[in-house]
Symmetry: C3
Subunit: 352 residues, 3 copies
């Protein structure tokens, strides 16, 4: 990777289909079917036998009406047009008016594999095959020692652009000026980027406590800072801070590619601090939402420009520490190529 050369205009965003994605929270999925999209493909989620979450392609095989407009009857999802009924595996169990057997291969709806854990419904990205491995587990999401905040937000940009934005340090002094860092009195720190087959991490060594409001909230008394930014395939972003011995903040978000230019973020913020949770929560939440609103706005402008010019043309420098690795990981995963490579470690300098 030669960061000074302009990347040529790229084709649409890489699609990593053989992976787990959060399609909704457990609470969102009740008695009624739920319409969602993954990479632009409409899916319907519902609870079948025993309340188990299920996901079908949201198109009745008969006359292509969306099944999400139907109702759940017992364990079956019923189409609103002719009343065909489907189970969690997509099998057709009833065709009203038909004297013969309804359950034939041609009458089946396409099904996606599903896992439900930690309050999230994860769906395998490709229909008609069993999911591989297990979905990502959020660390400390269920840990009583931590204050945990869960939020779902959306951004009008691809997984790649959202993930790069989430793990990018240099923009914080500008876009979030005052909240985070400032553009004055910069000092060099060492950055260690480690890329493995399915992830990339950047450690910032020697960083001072963030000078803005966020830093003061987290650690009023200062202290040594340990800071990692991490990305895991296909779409997990993680920011981890330890400030002194007592403060630990872990922000994870599972990114769902709704379509090429829309991403849902299921975020879990886990925080351990001397400050009690009931105090931290009302202080941190509005700041976090303000930061995210600024990121949403800049991503929307970025995507608007990319669309107007018919494609992206990025140029990177050595302080674009994580973003280009994310794109490489996504492109290789989308192509299905094997990833036999050894971990690579690279060091750089960032003025913060």
């Amino acid at each position: 990777m030669s960061p000074q050369l302009p990347v040529p205009v790229r084709p649409p965003n890489p699609r990593v289909e053989r992976a787990w994605y959060v399609l909704c929270t457990s609470r969102e999925l009740g008695r009624r079917p739920l319409a969602r999209q993954l990479y632009g493909v409409p899916l319907v989620l519902f609870r079948g036998a025993g309340g188990a979450a299920a996901a079908l392609v949201d198109r009745c095989p008969h006359r292509n009406v969306p099944l999400s407009e139907g109702v759940v009857e017992g364990e079956l999802l019923r189409c609103p047009y002719h009343g065909w009924r489907f189970d969690a595996a997509g099998r057709c169990k009833a065709i009203p008016g038909l004297a013969g057997e309804p359950d034939r291969a041609a009458h089946a709806a396409l099904a996606h594999d599903v896992r439900e854990q930690q309050g999230y419904v994860w769906v395998w990205g490709r229909a008609g095959e069993p999911g591989e491995g297990e979905p990502f587990r959020f660390r400390h999401a269920d840990d009583p020692q931590y204050t945990v905040v869960r939020r779902k937000v959306s951004a009008d940009a691809s997984v790649h652009l959202v993930a790069e934005n989430a793990l990018d340090v240099p923009h914080t002094a500008f876009l979030h000026g005052g909240l985070f860092r400032s553009d004055a009195d910069r000092k060099p720190i060492r950055c260690v980027v480690t890329r493995e087959a399915d992830r990339v991490a950047c450690e910032y060594v020697g960083e001072a406590r963030p000078s803005g409001l966020v830093g003061r909230l987290l650690s009023p008394s200062g202290g040594e800072v340990v800071h990692f930014d991490r990305f895991y395939l296909p779409s997990i972003v993680e920011v981890e801070y330890r400030i002194g011995a007592e403060n630990h903040i872990l922000v994870d978000a599972a990114l769902t590619p709704v379509d090429d230019d829309r991403t849902d973020l299921y975020a879990v913020v886990a925080l351990k601090s001397r400050i009690p949770g009931w105090l931290v929560r009302p202080l941190v939440t509005p700041v976090a939402l303000r930061i995210f609103a600024q990121d949403q706005a800049i991503l929307r402008k970025q995507v608007g420009t990319i669309q107007r010019f018919g494609g992206a043309r990025f140029v990177s420098t050595e302080i674009d520490l994580v973003g280009p690795h994310i794109l490489k990981l996504l492109l290789r995963a989308a192509s299905g190529a094997p990833s036999p490579e050894q971990p690579s470690v690279r060091e750089g300098t960032l003025l913060v």
Copy 2:
């Protein structure tokens, strides 16, 4: 036709151009030009010499302004930009400012053949050629023994999908549950489908009086039911019921392909019953409009799904009695292939 095999994704809707279509009612066409579309092509209708209805392609040959934005002056339609004037045949009769002869072939607007009958203006679907045959005649539309209701409605779907919906029995128990039929206590009836070169008809033998509100309105005392659903090329749907000796209901609709996903329906309901017309009309009309609103909604969802998936992929069963035949008739008519075939007759069973 193997009804259990999925039909592959189809190209856009078949276009049957060499046919008559209703473009407006006689009452809609007054002193002002009227803008309409047929298969997505803008047309302008106006009344020329002696009040005769005329139809031109809605584009001035000079600078491509829509003629429908102009005015009718005497027998001529005048363009609003430079004032060129056209007669019912599209001939250019005046070019203001030009010293020479305006009436040249290059200055002519394209004209469509027109017939006006039974209160409707029918237009031949291809410009520049004489229409063949005569437009469809609505039975009993002018019969004083019948109560006749005329309605124009629109649906956001192709002629094929609208016609299939109009002539499909199995969906009525679900989509129109309670109004028509119900999903309980089904009994088998025999269905006889007859396809000829330009039409398909289905007779339902042994049907009980529809159990819902519509049936009770039509025939409070019950009686033997004779029920036919028919489709005539290019786009006429017909539902006929006789219940007992005294009740006859005939619903015809001429379908106009406004564009690939919009259809206008010019419907004529003719009804003979013991109940007097002044009583039937206010009872039947709101029920019919309710049924049609439900059909409009499901068609919109169906078309939305087809568009999101980039094409239709239908699977049919033996109780899709009429729809697949409609598509076959439309595809053959659109291709211009001859239709030498003998009538085919097929029987099936439907639980109603």
Copy 3:
């Protein structure tokens, strides 16, 4: 050119890139960057060193955010995402956080050449090359003997269609009926069309004073009329009237192709008359705006029809005196072909 033959459907509008276009007035460009478009390409204008106007392609080379959303700091334009700073030539002068040199070719934004004169900011249509020649100068724009009115208006049509409309006489009797000319009592006049390598002009010989409101305002007492309509490549339209010895009206407009179907017009009306300026201005302005509103409306309808039919198909007659020449000039300039031809002169007759 055989004016009676229909021109076949044309590809999108010709793009003449190697030319000067007005992108804004001098007053519009203040301390904040200004977003504009030229042939659909987003540009950002700002004032750099010494207040000199500058124009860059409106896309940060780093992550493709629009620079027009940033701010001007000193002589530099700063991107709102990561704070990269660019000078008027597009050179990157700062990359916050980067220890190395920011000013590399790969980090530069694309710049357009700029001239500012007579209160307008002119931009060369192709990035990365010096502009050739000088922008058009408006005659009498700064002449104290003239009453001068400047207006910016927009039309939803290409430069070709707007220019043809502006210089077309025959439509005035219809579209602007009563304001300008009328359709009654027409008399023939002689028209002399002269086309040169970069322009076309039409002189109307023997024209009576325009009979409508505009004519009466300009010259209450009548007098001999001298009338020229002119087009200069790439996009200047000019209408000149002299009525008697004392009245001179010169309407110039520089047309800017915002995109294929949008044109901005920077108009300068210069008027010398016995009537004092303070009296002429409030009389002429509302009439001119009324005329322009009618032209905007008809252009919008024309473009709508062209889009619905998938392209333009024009037929011209001998009284389409200027429009076909404008199209020929634009097509040749867009193709980059040399224009060695001798001036051509042609005469015709127009009934006015």
